[in-house]
Amino acid sequence: MPSLLAIDTLLIAACVWAILGLAGLMAPRKTRFIAKTLFPLGALVSVLAGIVGLASLGATSQTAVLVIGLPDLPFHLRLDNLSAIFVTLLGFVSAGISIFAAGYFRQGEGTAPGLLCFEYHIFLASMLLVLLADDAYAFMVAWETMALSSFFLVTTDHRHETIRRAGFLYLLIAHIGAIAILLSFGVMTGGAGGSGDYSFAGMRAQQLSPFWSSAAYLLALVGFGAKAGLLPLHVWLPEAHPAAPSPVSALMSGVMLKTAIYGLLRVSFDLVGTPIWWWGVVALAIGLATALFGVLYSTVQSDMKRLLAYSSIENIGLLAIGIGLALIFHSYRMEALAALALTAVFYHCLAHAGFKSLLFLCTGSVLHATKERSLGKLGGLIHRMPWVAWLALVGVIASAGLPPLSGFVSEWLLLQSFLFSPGLPHAWLNMVVPVAAAVVALVAALAGFAMVKFYGIIFLGQMREDSLKDAHDAGVWEKAGLVWLALITVLLGIMPATVILRIDAATRQLLGAGLSEHVRDHGWWMLAPISPERASYESVIFLVTIVLSVWLGRWLVHHLYHGRGRRSAAWDCGYHFQGPRAQDTAEGFSQPIRRIFEPMFRMQRHLPTARDREPYYSVQVEDHFWHWLYLPIARLAAWLSMRITTLQGGRIAVYLMYSFITLLLLLLVARP
């Protein structure tokens, strides 16, 4: 029995983060101290938290009750396997981001570095508390603190109108989501006539009718979906991510979105009771729509961070698909398959956290080096920023879902779980679910398209602007952060079996079943979730084979023939001397997508004609949801407000009449 429980350690970690933040607040302008002392210390705490999380996987859950909180509802905390996975994720990923931030925040941007440091560390601490919270009040407090601190981080450079608007939209949707979550908790306590016990233990004990449990689930889906960026509550994401400084984007995309997934898992598998099959279908449908939407929009973006933000939407969609499948299987008591899908979800959480943070940080380095984030003005940076470029390649390949890196493992697991869906006692599902797999396949392939665009346009080709020649590679701290995250991505890619054995504790907790029996039978290099005859994947062999053939091929070619080569201008079918302008622009690259999926976009195009003095081409892609959902709601609210404000017309006689009529009505109508 260790004298210091894991949960206490994590609490201390949260406190240390808060103290680091306060220390920054005390010395708001001492950039060197903050960057070179506080952020690395924060990273150290992150690593520690990650290790504690990792060590707690498979251990018995620990609880704690704090003195703070409401009088009859003090903060309950609990560290179980589900939380532990996400704590691990938070710890290891945020460590890399903090290290990067140590180098990144050197100039400070709009907000004093000390304040940033404070907001950043409070953000980390609140995320940790979200994962540990074991009652509705603690959860909501942590959840909203998380939203608030990230809001301030998003609006770091608040001098720009667009950034302020982005922050506002973000906080608004987060708040609406929080309201839905709160309602969901309320329903789960039993609603009218229920226990009114707002600790999670009380919710578990509550027996809900199918109607109310469905209501709780749907509310949770809306609430956590708003945070995660599920359709149609995704609109804040592509606005907020570009607005935020890159480490913050990385943290939000990599970690914060996962807390929403955590919440959804917590509610649907742990708190609400037995799931109903159509819950899964709903999650699946929304997930499919989100994934497809996200990836399509990510391909047509011309801002590198927006592109990544939409890609995050896509990944969240994939996670929702996995959750949906797991719910379907779980509701039919097909726990082995549910475990497969759920493992895919966990794996994808980890993988996405790693590679998306990595990519966002890379955009941060590019942004610092070039002051430019429009894809149309970048290019050829691999020559000036080799470190960033090669590390970004790791992220790109993982993000495109290609072997042998992390993204592929989770997609592979997801597709596997789709493949075994026949056998569901429901004919419709049997028919529809495999077709959904086709959409997943399409999404994966389109993600490749988007990533090739992202990487090719930023790092490859010729420099589109002269100023890019002055770009410099990332500093030591930034490199260290990037390498850390790239390592995570690679390790997750090549050691799936080891990781899944760890994850297994959480799936087992939620479903009572896991993959470990099957996975453990084989070596660490082999992933065979059911049996090697049915499906298997050995990424190490994979990697070794490719590396070997690359190396062997190179060696043979150089020895059998020669290594001669020379440099010359590009041939390009004889059209010499083409400038960088002849390359595809970001818009040009995605032209096929816009053309094929035209109805999915709301486009405003200007095409040049022969008579134009200054011919130009422009295309703007807008979100249908803005036009068909958000603007009508905004207009309706404005209209209602306008109607209602006529009540305050300025005439005292009318005011008197209101109170007179009120009095009369009460006298005439409201009698006991």
Binding site: G649, A653, L667, L668
Partner: protein, 222 residues
């Protein structure tokens, strides 16, 4: 039935009825000067009814409140209003927002409502003057109506004060008066209120060049 009612009660009922009548008259009155006079008369009738109640019940504090009423409602306030009228040189007609006949019709409706609302309560009363509660309520409502329909600041104030009269009628006739300390407090409030209003009138006229309240419709949201 009326035979069983003692004379004093009949007297109080008479006073109350006259007050109601005067309120109607105020509602119909177009001239500010006349309005103030009617208000003074209303105060005087209130004094009378309070006096009758005091004589009937023999409660000493009712004499005090009768005296207070006479002093304040029948003399002091009308005098202040008159002074204001002259100082501010208010002339001309009181423009009603709704025309007078309509107002009267609405007023009759209000009286019916007031009586009906008060009816079940007055039947519970053990005092001799239980019917007056309905009348008091009607006076309050009519004064309310007057405040709604009048356009000049001063006539709104008269409406407000006449509402206080209605309340006072309710207090004395229905319950034989509130505790003395309360009545004193109320009287003080009314007096201070009237003084503040007086100061206000000057300021309003300075700022708006008129006491017409339709100038004061700037603060609004639509």
């Amino acid at each position: 039935m009326s035979a069983t009612i003692p004379l004093t009660a009949q007297l109080i009922n008479l006073c109350a009825s006259v007050i109601l009548l005067l309120t109607f008259a105020m509602l119909a009155q177009r001239r500010v000067m006349q309005l103030i006079n009617l208000f003074a008369l209303q105060g005087f009738m209130l004094f009378l009814s309070t006096l009758v109640v005091a004589v009937t019940t023999g409660q000493s504090h009712l004499y005090w409140s009768a005296g207070l009423t006479l002093l304040l409602k029948a003399l002091l306030l009308p005098w202040i209003l008159n002074r204001l009228m002259h100082r501010l040189q208010i002339k001309g007609e009181v423009e009603a927002l709704i025309n007078i006949p309509t107002t009267m019709l609405v007023g009759i409706g209000l009286v019916i409502i007031a009586f009906n609302v008060a009816l079940p309560i007055s039947q519970l009363s053990h005092t001799i003057t239980r019917g007056t509660l309905g009348i008091a309520l009607a006076v309050v409502m009519l004064a309310f109506l007057m405040m709604i329909t009048r356009r000049k600041a001063i006539s709104q104030v008269v409406g407000f004060l006449s509402m206080e009269n209605g309340l006072f009628l309710a207090a004395t006739s229905a319950t034989y008066g509130m505790p003395m300390v309360v009545e004193l407090g109320i009287a003080l409030d009314v007096l201070v209120g009237a003084l503040i209003l007086g100061v206000f009138f000057f300021q309003i006229r300075d700022q708006f060049d008129s006491l017409d309240i339709h100038h004061m419709e700037r603060l609004k949201d639509n």
